[in-house]
Amino acid sequence: MSGLALFWRRFRRNTAAVGGLVVLLLIVGAAVFGPVLHPVDPFDMLGRPTQPPSARFLLGTDVSGRDILAGLLHGARVSLVVGIVASLAATVVGLLVGAVAGYYGGVIDNLLMRATDFFLTIPSFVLAIVIVAIFQPSIFTVTAAIATVSWPSVARLVRGEFIAQRDRDYVRACRALGMRDWEIILRQILPNALPPVIVVSSLMVATAILTESGLSFLGLSDPDVVSWGYQIGVGRSVLRVAWWMSAIPGVTILVTVLAINLVGEGLNDALNPRVQQR
């Protein structure tokens, strides 16, 4: 409990991070309660197409006369769910690969790191496109594709942490006590290696949201839900006469990603404090 309090005190010192957190909470609130408070189906054609913002349609209508605000609120759910789940999945895979490679070293390390480097070399966005295209766009395939291209950076980080920790005295002591490898990995080393991983995976949520928006802009999104990238893609066809239609979801993405990045930096300052003398 005091650890948590200490963490919060350090986090609070970073004003930008606290601001980011407030904005992020607002967006999460909008995603959770928005569709309830503004109960409009984002696929319903409700009015004249391509209307600018007005009292009836706060953010206007799109080329098919659909309510842009409703789309934005539903899109928040998609962006957040895909971003968070993809990052979690990538973190778990990355942790597993990195921990095994770093702990055991040798041939296992060599093989796993070759695979990791391979995934870091190939253009990840192209691979994501191919995966989604082959398995048909859906929330699940988009999430899986983003996770597939995101885990290598976590694996590299975790491996480094494990290599730094594996020969420390406490690990030797655990081995001497006859503790099993998986116990040492999960219970002993992992908690020590976790802080930088938390920072990286929180920042990964931002990247994942950007990737998802790129995919859905290309038309690679679940046809049953509205997402921000898809909205930008829809607005693109009338860019010359109704620029706001693309601008609004874009600004939403920007603000969301910015907020997550600020929170991530705040986490970094709070979890990995570098003592600043002078």
Binding site: F118, L120, T121, I122, P123, S124, F125, V126, L127, I129, V130, I131, A133, I134, F135, Q136, A206, L210, S213, G214, F217, L218, G219, L220, G229, I232, R236, L239, R240, W243, S246, A247, G250, I253, L254, V255, T256, V257, L258, N261, L262
Partner: protein
Amino acid sequence: MPPTLAFLARRLLQLGPVVLAIAALNFALLHMAPGDVADIIAASSGGAPVEFVEELRRNFGLDRPLWEQFLVFLGRLLVLDLGWSHIQQAPVLELVMERVPATLLLMLAAILVAVAAGMLLGILAAMRHRSWIDAVLSILALVVYATPQFWLGLMLIVLFSVTLGILPSGGMMTIATDLSWSARALDIARHLVLPSLTLGLFYVALYTRLMRASMLEVFTLDFITTARAKGLSETRISFVHAARNALLPVVTLAGVQIGHILGGSILVETVFGWPGLGRLVFDALLQRDLPLLLGVLLVSSVVVVLVNLLVDLVYGLLDPRIVQR
């Protein structure tokens, strides 16, 4: 053989495993895809009798065991056969290679913009460390990091093409046949401005931050004190003594980013109708042309490895301590 050539040769040999791995990945993806080539052809010809589809499968060797199919797949790769696009009715390699130059041009322009501007702004931020310029640059960098590239492209079109009307909104050149080569180059350059800016801006922000941190690190080194003790001005010290040393870690990271830049250019190209790999991907997606998509993945990976090699050579030029072997 001179050491640099030997280095090049060995690095090129290292391409082999990468290509093999991508081939395996491609093969795996192709076989995990619902429906095979025969189904797609049958579907595109508007439904066909089962016997015809079976016949097609036999013709394509799809009834053979997987490992045999994989060997055939690899054998084709050896003679640079990346498959056939049934939709465009052309060899995949040909379709892809046609588009590579345009993508390379866009990537190169974006990298040049990013390295040049990022370096200058990074030096400026470091020289004016903790001033208002430094603060403004940091905030701008944060905003740029959070901006979706394709959306930035759209907004730039709105501003520069639609509203101001000073730059073309898409394509690579004006359709006109009677242009001299210099007018043609200028025309392409004008078309290149917005896409390369869109693609490069993210990296401008990234390299500004990296360069700033790297400069501040270099500023603490002893040889900077030596340069001051020689009576040199701060500007000369920053640009002549610190910048080249500070650039080294930035170049290393630029190498790591090549794949990311290529991925970004896919999106930017679709926004600006730039006739490169991105457009090809977009069209292939619309027509569900899987062999073509997989070809793009393979070729773009090879491009990344090759550009990385180029970056390593540049690093060798910048740092005399590196002997490339």
